[in-house]
């Protein structure tokens, strides 16, 4: 968790303390190559290699399962859908209306389930420990993204908490005004519109407050916090690059590699 008093993540382990930028790079390096194929081998190898990474990420067991719960639900759901409706090939085991379970659809189902986990788990686990302020510092100072954009987005993110409170107040106000008994969908749309209006108003007052402190001027900007990067950050990125490299190599060697942009097998 992010400590509510210091707004700073406080976790054990060698990965949680790495630069936010290194974690972002690592998550992308793991995910992108794995998107390129749908085969069970590369995803399984990657998932196996990721286990140490997941264990060292600095999440407690309880937090790990709650944060990744959606993946553990999505992976089997996706697999079942593909097993029932996926591209047919090989022996057909069951046929009922549009449902057709075959060797091909079962293989695709397994590949999908493992892939969702292999891409999703490291991404979630790495991002849970990212401090938005550190990430913004890294993106602006190291990647040299425009400060206007990065700092603007960072300040805007703080407003998400306010909007949650707004949503609650909108709901209470509707109950108090006698219009909360039915029409749930229509009411939610009305609330969404009201929230949109409120967000714009808050956004423009935030922008004024930022300008009042000299934001958006033409002069050079300095950075109070130095975005640091050391060898351990480089190491994390290298490890993150090696995982998909090995996974793809094994898949190609075993003949399982199934490039999504290439000719269909």
């Amino acid at each position: 968790m992010i400590d509510p008093l210091t707004a700073r993540p406080d976790r054990p382990g060698p990965i949680a303390g790495r630069a936010a930028l290194a974690k972002l790079a690592a998550a992308l390096l793991i995910a992108l190559p794995l998107v390129l194929s749908i085969d069970v081998v590369s995803a399984s190898v990657a998932l196996l290699l990721e286990i140490p990474l997941l264990l060292l990420a600095g999440l407690g067991a309880r937090e790990f399962w709650t944060r990744t719960a959606v993946l553990w639900i999505a992976a089997p759901l996706g697999a079942v859908t593909i097993a029932l409706y996926g591209a047919t090939s090989g022996t057909i085991h069951l046929e009922w209306f549009v449902i057709r379970i075959s060797d091909g659809s079962l293989a695709l189902a397994a590949a999908t389930a493992v892939r969702v986990l292999a891409i999703g788990l490291p991404a979630v686990v790495l991002f849970v420990t990212v401090d938005p302020t550190d990430l913004a510092d890294g993106l602006a100072q190291r990647v040299r993204l425009p400060a206007r954009f990065v700092v603007g987005a960072l300040a805007g993110m703080r407003m998400l908490g306010l909007l949650t409170e707004d949503w609650r107040a909108l709901a209470l106000a509707r109950r108090a005004r006698g219009v909360a008994d039915q029409g749930r969908v229509r009411r939610a749309l009305g609330m969404a519109f009201a929230l949109f209006v409120l967000a714009i108003r808050r956004g423009s007052s935030l922008a004024t407050a930022m300008e009042a402190r000299g934001f958006g001027g033409t002069g050079p900007r300095s950075w109070a916090r130095e975005s640091t990067w050391d060898r351990r950050d480089t190491l994390l990125v290298i490890v993150a690059a090696i995982i998909p490299a090995i996974a793809i190599a094994v898949a190609v060697l075993t003949g399982a590699w199934n490039f999504i942009l290439g000719p269909t097998a």
């Binding site: 400590d3 509510p4 008093l5 210091t6 707004a7 700073r8 938005p132 302020t133 960072l154 300040a155 703080r158 908490g161 306010l162 707004d166 107040a169 909108l170 209470l172 106000a173 509707r174 109950r175 108090a176 005004r177 006698g178 219009v179 909360a180 008994d181 009305g190 009201a194 209006v197 409120l198 108003r201 808050r202 007052s205 935030l206 004024t208 407050a209 930022m210 300008e211 009042a212 402190r213 000299g214 934001f215 958006g216 001027g217 002069g219 050079p220 900007r221 300095s222 950075w223 109070a224 916090r225 130095e226």
Partner: protein, 486 residues
């Protein structure tokens, strides 16, 4: 704070500003000069353009696409946008004044924008936090601060920029009395240390009078924005005190008119709370236990510091959120054929029984015209068209909203919005009314109107629960106090 600041000079030369979205000029043809180190209280009725002028000096009005300008504003002889860092502003809403997630980063923000070298930023941050006496760790979350602390944080962010002029636009309007005093003292200490020029806008001038050396009153007339009065506080308030009070300024010695004490004793009990603890989120009790009765024809005043759980108690009594433990029971006089726990009533059943007016009007606006807004409740009760028309017309007249009956509620002034939300709650003739900070940030005129209205409702037999840290409101209503402490 040892500081190399030199106080700034502020000048307006026939200056005017029209927002691109408005036809009317917010400020026109204003001429004035504020000398280095002067401490100015800027007054004026709502619509006189005082906030626009302040934002102009702050350089935050924007460019040609935001509006049209005339004449010139000068900070030390330069255009405000070219004098970046010479003026620092603190605005009204503490929530949008905080920019970053951690206290230290937030104070450093202005220095970063000015390009102050890193090794110089952190000593400045510490100095500024000392100056406003905000004694928290640099990595403390800004979300965990109270309203008064947030405003002092914003002030620290401004001080760290070492501005020659500090501009404050109602910096204490949303704070409890302790927060108000803390912010005022912080400003006072900072001015003594730096000698910076000050311009402050505030309805509650008694807060700032000990500090300011000059009072300027702006007014609008057909020719443009005029300076109605300008001089020492004694001169201006002596000559124009009554007039200013009539235009909504809180002038010491000119208190708003308050209604007479209730003529009758409170009537029957409508709601009973026993061993009640309240929570915003399930499982996190923030206040209680309370044992209290709400009776017809009586005002119950709920007081206590910001964040103590006053609003949460109000929402629980109003049947909008469940009790954390203990009970809220509506007696048969109020419940009639409904269940005893108001939280289990339908939204429609609440209408004729308990109405609630929340703190922020924008959360409660549902319709596109003021008239429609008033008929939302009556329509949910499926009243006849004639009955709805009668009730809305009566409320429009009673709360002085007839002239804006066809306007969009979002375009109303702050005081009008407040009156509209109260009127909308009254349209279904509830037996009990829960009001959360009904007079928050209102000028003296709106304040007196709302207090008068609440007193009349009380005398007609409505039970009122008024949540407020404004003791004057509760005194004026002869409210029975319930104190919610930390």
């Amino acid at each position: 704070m040892t500081s190399p600041t030199t106080p700034a000079t502020l000048e307006a030369h026939g200056w005017g500003w029209r927002y691109a979205t408005r036809l009317r000029w917010a400020v026109r043809e204003v001429d004035l000069r504020i000398e280095p180190g002067e401490r100015v209280l800027l007054l004026g009725a709502s619509g006189s353009g005082k906030s626009t002028l302040l934002q102009g000096f702050g350089g935050v009005l924007g460019g040609a696409d935001e509006g049209e300008t005339h004449g010139a504003l000068r900070v030390d002889g330069r255009a405000p946008t070219e004098a970046r860092g010479r003026v620092g502003m603190v605005l009204q809403d503490p929530d949008t004044q905080t920019i970053l997630a951690r206290v230290g980063d937030d104070v450093a923000f202005g220095c970063e924008n000015l390009g102050v070298p890193r090794e110089e930023i952190w000593p400045r941050v510490r100095q500024a936090l000392d100056a406003v006496e905000l004694d928290v760790a640099l990595d403390r979350s800004t979300a965990a601060l109270s309203g008064g602390q947030k405003q002092r944080l914003a002030l620290a962010g401004v001080l760290a920029m070492r501005p020659g002029a500090i501009l404050l636009d109602e910096p204490t309007a949303n704070l409890d009395p302790q927060g108000v005093a803390d912010v005022r003292d912080a400003v006072s200490a900072a001015l003594d240390a730096t000698g910076a020029t000050l311009v402050v806008i505030e309805h509650r001038i008694d807060i700032w009078l000990p500090l300011v050396t000059r009072v300027i009153v702006l007014g609008a007339d057909p020719a443009g924005t005029v300076v109605l009065a300008d001089g020492t506080p004694e001169q201006v308030l002596g000559a124009r005190g009554a007039e200013l009070a009539a235009s909504g300024v809180w002038v010491p010695g000119h208190p708003p008119v308050v209604p007479p004490a209730p003529a009758q004793r409170p009537g029957e009990t409508l709601i009973e709370a026993r061993g009640l603890t309240v929570a915003r989120r399930r499982g996190l009790a923030i206040a209680g236990p309370f044992d209290l009765d709400v009776r017809a024809g009586e005002v119950v005043g709920v007081t206590g510091p910001n964040g103590a759980g006053k609003s949460t108690l109000g929402l629980t009594l109003a049947g909008l959120i469940p009790a954390e433990s203990g009970s809220v029971t509506a007696l048969p006089a109020l419940a009639s054929d409904e269940k005893a726990d108001p939280f289990r009533w339908s939204s429609r059943a609440l209408l004729t029984r308990i109405a609630t007016v929340l703190q922020t009007p924008e959360h409660q606006l549902l319709a596109t015209t003021v008239r429609d807004e008033l008929s939302v409740g009556p329509r949910a009760l499926r009243l006849s068209a004639e009955e709805i028309a009668t009730r809305t017309d009566e409320l429009l007249a009673r709360l002085r909203l007839a002239s804006v009956a066809d306007a969009n509620p979002y375009t109303l002034s702050g005081g009008e919005k407040r009156r509209l939300t109260v009127a909308a709650a009254l349209a279904t003739r509830p037996r009990m009314l829960v009001l959360d900070e009904p007079t928050f940030g209102q000028d003296a005129t709106t304040w007196a109107e709302l207090v008068g209205l609440i007193a009349r409702l009380r005398d007609e037999g409505t039970a009122v629960v008024a949540i407020s840290h404004d003791e004057a409101v509760l005194d004026a209503l002869h409210a029975r106090r319930v104190v919610v402490g930390r």
